[in-house]
């Protein structure tokens, strides 16, 4: 019983230990350090950019964007090639049908 009361007293004391606490004071010359840091931060904009780029998430995202761009360009180029081939084939068939595929002077001679 006594031990229980003692324990409860300790708990209450701990919970009330921050009552009336005073504010902790910052170290002197804090402004000088902040000002120096501020100027240093202004100078190192390239460092910030490099830090951003070297973040794994940013690097991974960049890689994904490049791969997606590559894929889309590849798809676009092959699609265009296919349509060009089909168009060329139609033109060739048309030329053959109407005997328009005469390309050289020699061909005229034979005729």
């Amino acid at each position: 019983m006594k031990a229980h009361t003692e324990k409860q007293q300790k708990i209450e004391a701990a919970l009330k230990s921050l009552d009336g606490v005073e504010r902790a004071k910052a170290a002197p010359y804090l402004f000088t350090r902040i000002y120096a840091r501020l100027n240093k931060d202004e100078e190192s904009i390239w460092e910030k950019i490099l830090q951003l780029i070297s973040k794994p998430s940013v690097a991974f995202l960049g890689l994904c964007v490049i791969l997606a761009l590559n894929g889309s360009i590849l798809a676009w180029v092959s699609g265009e090639e296919e349509s060009q081939t089909a168009e060329h084939q139609i033109q060739q068939e048309f030329a053959e049908d109407y005997n328009l595929a005469v390309n050289t002077y020699y061909d005229y001679e034979i005729k």
Partner: protein
């Protein structure tokens, strides 16, 4: 000095305004950081980061909230970021130690003594600070702002962007969790 005059001078890049601003708010920022981080060096580092952030982003301050509320928000965000960074470093050191490499930060931090606590309450306060580390982030923030900075529930609700009843609930749960942890602690010792 009026908040608005301060802000206008800061926006103009007035160095004496910077100095005056730091002197006015440094203890508030440091005390809050210290309460959350429980380490004087880390708290000073975060305090510097807070003021650098304030000076760099003063142009984006629209005045929707009080200057002190804005400062509390930046301080808490920086302090929580610092804790996450430290945890990440600890995890990394642990993984490194698994691969046989020597890792840093393996030692347990010593009990924290807040310089503003009365001498006869130092021991109890050190135990309470240990218990505070077991709380969730929001409970810890609410408790620290209320006890160390003396903010009312209304002011805490503005800082944390919560309703007053949500802050009341956070405080109630924080006290209950602290009591539970302290009971276990004093039962063992």
């Amino acid at each position: 000095m009026n908040d608005w005059i301060f802000i206008e001078q800061l926006k103009e890049g007035d160095t004496s305004a910077y100095k005056s601003f730091v002197e006015t708010w440094q203890d508030m920022v440091y005390n809050t950081s210290l309460g959350i981080l429980q380490n004087a060096e880390d708290a000073e580092d975060v305090t510097q980061e807070v003021f650098v952030q304030v000076f760099q982003s003063i142009h984006s301050f629209k005045g929707d909230s009080k200057l002190s509320t804005w400062l509390y928000r930046i301080t808490l965000s920086k302090a929580m970021d610092h804790i996450r960074r430290k945890k990440r470093k600890k995890r990394f050191a642990f993984v490194k130690s698994l691969f046989g490499e020597e890792g840093e930060l393996t030692e347990q931090p010593a009990d924290f003594n807040h310089p503003g606590v009365k001498l006869d309450q130092k021991e109890s306060a050190a135990v309470l600070f240990r218990a505070l580390n077991k709380l969730s982030d929001n409970q810890r923030i609410a408790f620290t702002l209320h006890k160390l900075e003396g903010l009312s529930y209304q002011e805490i609700s503005e800082v944390m962007k919560l309703s007053v009843s949500a802050v009341e609930s956070l405080m109630h749960r924080a006290k209950a969790n602290l009591r539970k942890w302290l009971e276990e602690y004093y039962s063992k010792s």
